[in-house]
Amino acid sequence: MSDEKSAEEIAAELTERYTGSYNDRGYGSDYAGTDEFQKVPWVAGRDPPVFMVKCKVGREKDIVVEVARYCLANLYAQDSGGGEQILTCFSRKSLPGYLYIESHSKAHVLSVLSKINNVYLGPDKNKITLLEDRDMEGVLRVERSKPKVKVGDWVRVRRPAKYAGDLAKVVSLSEDGDSCTLRMLPRLEPYSADSQKKDKDANGAGAKRKKGTIRPIAKLFNAEDWPRSMVQKLPNGQRRLTHVAETFDSQGYRLKRILLNAVEAPIADPTLDEIQTYLGGSLDLSNLDRAGVGVGKATVSDFIVGEEVEVTGGQLTGMVGKVEKFEGGAVVVKLDNLEDLNPFPPNDLRKRFHTGDHVRVTAGQFAPQTGSVLKIVGTVATLLTDVTNREIEVFTKDLRLAAEVVGEASVAGGRALNGAQSRFDVFDLVQIDYQTVGCITHLAADAAVLVDQYGNSKRVPVSLLTQKKDTSRAVATDAQGQPLAAGDTVFVSPASTAPGGVRRANVVHVYKDVVFCQSKEVVENGGVFVVPSADLTVQSRAGGRGPGMGSMGPPPLPAASRAGNGPGSVAPVTGRGGFGGGGRGRRDPLVGRHVVIQGGAYKGYQGVVKDAAEITVRVELHTNARVVSVDRQKVVTLGADGRPDNSGFGTSYGGFSGGQTPSYGGARTPSYGGSRTPGYGGGRTPAWDGARTPGGGWGGSKTPAWDSGARTPGRDTSGAKTPAWDSGSRTPGRFVGDGSRTPAWNAMSDFDSRPGTGGTERGDRPMSVSDTRGQGYGGYSRAGTVATPYLRPPDTPGVAGTVGTPGPSGDYGTPYAPQTPAAYPQTPLPYELNAPTPAATPGGVPQTPGAYPSMGSVAATAPTPHNPATPAALGGSYGMSSVGGAGAPSEWELQTEVEVRIRSPGSPFHGLRGVTRRVDTSARVCGVVLLEGPRVNEIEVFPNSSLELVVPVKKDEVKVLSGQDKGNIGSLIGIDGKDGLVRMKGRVQIVMIALSDLGKLFTG
């Protein structure tokens, strides 16, 4: 404590010593700026004349000094011919190459200048100019330039290189504003008698010591570390190292005068980390202000209306209130227990949080993570981050109350901030250098913290990371000789080097014989640790692999074990071994699919499958970019129409989707079945097998199937590429891609290289779809591949045939038909009212069963019956709510307890009515309690853009959504064109408010 006090005193002394300097001593340079001076004429006749002479550019200051020296030396030497009366001599930085001398005598000036070098007096030694009055004014005027930095500012040092990037504080400014004195952490070459000697020896031997190869660490100067002879004591407790001529203040900081253009200033608030380093690694949080750090002060932009704040300065210190509005540079606060609004400078306010509050970091290296507040001391809050469970310290000004959860993964090297996709993500395995790889555990804006293969944690700039390593195919052997790969769950041997007591972990990466595991029980490094594979025992395997190990792996489950899953549930893909032992490393078919979660905490959420294991899948939610782990059974794929895919992914994938085509297409939108299936079943599967088992009889059996696939009208349609094909679901794309790539090539090459595999069969059999199936099937069995899963009874083509091939009218008649617009979930609804966009109209065309060529005419007329199904039509009631030009729903300022209708084509909640319960204005999402549908009374979160106001009618209770009455409640007593007449609650008069600004209040 006593230390700090003395430091303060010293600081005060320093300030006094350096800041007041010139002006206070009465030199009066500042006088020029005062008003009184402005009133008198600048240059009066009796003022001495000023002469101007040319001189060497860049030497002006030297010459001035020389003149001064000469004059001083000869001041009293009048007798010996000296004693020239020179009043002043100066140069202006803005006028290089000129020297100005004030003197009553030209002769004196010439006499002095003739004795000085670098002054150009011409051949006659008399080339000097007398300045006219108005020129004198210009030359003598001193413009006060606004200094770039102020005393007390934080700056970043640019030069010298040894200190480049270091944080420093401005202690004083030079008078000319060119330089400043900085207080910074010294970086001194460590002293040792040996090194000094060695240096000398080396120098003596003529060898030049390599300098600056290693930057000395920054730490406070301690006089004890140096021989007494090298340290010189200065007043004010300062010390000076004589051999390097560096000065340190009593606390051990280096004081260094540095040119202003060698510093980077002003910098935005330094981060807490940097300040901690600056303060010598330890930061007494409770003492931030006293330590003179002066950071963590909020600015107006840090506050938002409604935030709880505490007054920290002025008479009202300690009072608590809420931010009401902003006025100029002041924050207007409604203090608790006070009637009036009080404006405060943002410096005098501090955001107020409570332990346990869920907050988001809005700035700094931890943005935009979320976490819970553990502790608050002064302006610094300690948070426990949501995703990585790390404790971080952040200024409260950089915090905001948050509803959602954002993890580090979504930061991903600044992705969330810059909008650009980062190359890396948390848990990626990256190459650090030639021999080292590491698993990323934390990503900051510019650097990644990772665990290398030796288990060491290190921080590496992202720019140094080269490639991301794909370890999905890497396999190691566990303690029992079983294969071990990424995604597996393993038991960790107690004898292993794993951090204390971890029993179970997930394998993140396999690299050679070391395994990167992750466990929630481990706190360090985001739970990632490294163990030799021999210390692990596989407990359960990741989905895509098990049987793929061929003979090594456990026998594949019988296909029947897949039966009995609920509708639409996704069967574990354990049985995939049927692919001739080639399954390893193949992507799980679920990966990349859009799914809706049907149970658990995330029920109803939609997302994209990022990774699929045997039992669980990892789904990246659409709502908040969070990746969650969900039971495989609870995930249902979404069809192109955005409806849950009831036929179940397991089956549709099972290798025989081809057989299901017609029924598939019939049950839902034709485009779905028509586009996806051929490519999927007919295209991909044979190729897979074909590539692996080039049996002789194979080509024959396979070809027709392929061929017919290629020739199905559906294919033709896709070739035509009507807009909907591209704009619709991804499946068509996949189909085209697959069609051109995998099966075709393999099939063909097989074919060509083997004459006699029945080439004639190929191409000369125009078949119907079901026909094809039959043929392909027959071929299979003939080829003797009895064990293939294609022969599973449920998939027989017969089934497909009977259910399928619905006529076109049937297609239109299906209840799903109107759902087709779901293929364009992104399309903003309201704008389609005017005219059907190109996407909307042709949307119907290809979605008609293109698979049936005879339907061509029907297809042509199809758009008409389809039109009602375009998104435009769905927005029926919207037409009203958009009256008044309130614009898209996303522009509302939503309030709670307002009735809304969900407009989210593709979501199971589309069209349902609900009540807004929670409104997150920053994330623009709402928690809506559903009033209809299967999940009535349950709360769901929707983006504002997919909510539409229920338009109130006369006599409805309404809530005002914007304007000065925002948030108030009233009753709608009449409608006048676009405006509603509202009697506000508790008031007599009636207000006119645009209908679009009124939300129907939910009254139960």
Binding site: T355, V373, L374, P567, A601, N646
Partner: protein, 179 residues
């Protein structure tokens, strides 16, 4: 806090379940689907107490599945902020400790523990203990695995498959469960 809550759940039953045991299957499905799950709104569904007679199902066109909407009453457990509950310590670390209050996992950071408690590691067992001169020291209570603890919930947030809470024992009468 525990509540008895009336809830409903929609079950889709495949045609092969249409038979004598349909009712049992429905109930089984409901229990499988719901018991032990956690919902952000109601908390954990601990136990299904009572299931109303299932209404007639509705066969879905196209799939043949039957849709049943079951109304049931369930015992739910929902932790609230500032709620005090008892738990068992499961893991002690440098940064704090984890405790389980039934299905709820609670993390108590060192910031939310009495500042006097000090980390102690003996034969690989980490624990937090009061210093000898502390009045609480005689109780011999320490923060160590499998010990009981009374804590106050500071924040609750949804986590993968459940809820995750942050707790505090930095207050009178928290920590050791008094007799």
């Amino acid at each position: 806090m525990f509540f008895v809550k009336s809830l409903s759940h929609t079950i889709l039953l495949p045609p092969k379940a249409f038979g004598k045991s349909l009712r049992e299957q429905l109930i089984q499905r409901l229990r499988d689907d719901k018991e032990g799950t956690c919902d952000g709104r109601f908390g954990y569904i601990v136990h299904i107490l009572e299931i109303n007679d299932p209404p007639k199902g509705l066969v879905q066109a196209g799939t043949g599945f039957a849709e049943y909407r079951l109304d049931y009453r369930a015992l739910v457990f929902k932790p609230f902020r500032n709620e005090v509950m008892d738990g068992v310590i499961t893991n002690v670390m440098k940064t704090g400790f984890f405790a389980e209050c039934g299905p709820l996992q609670v993390f108590v950071s060192t910031h939310l523990m009495p500042p006097e408690m000090k980390l102690e590691t003996t034969n690989g067992n980490t624990s937090y203990v009061y210093p000898d001169d502390h009045p609480e020291a005689q109780s011999n209570w320490r923060i160590v695995k499998n010990e009981n603890v009374r804590l106050k919930i500071v924040s609750v947030k949804p986590d993968m498959g459940g809820l995750f809470a942050i707790g505090s024992i930095r207050q009178d009468h928290l920590g050791r469960i008094a007799d």
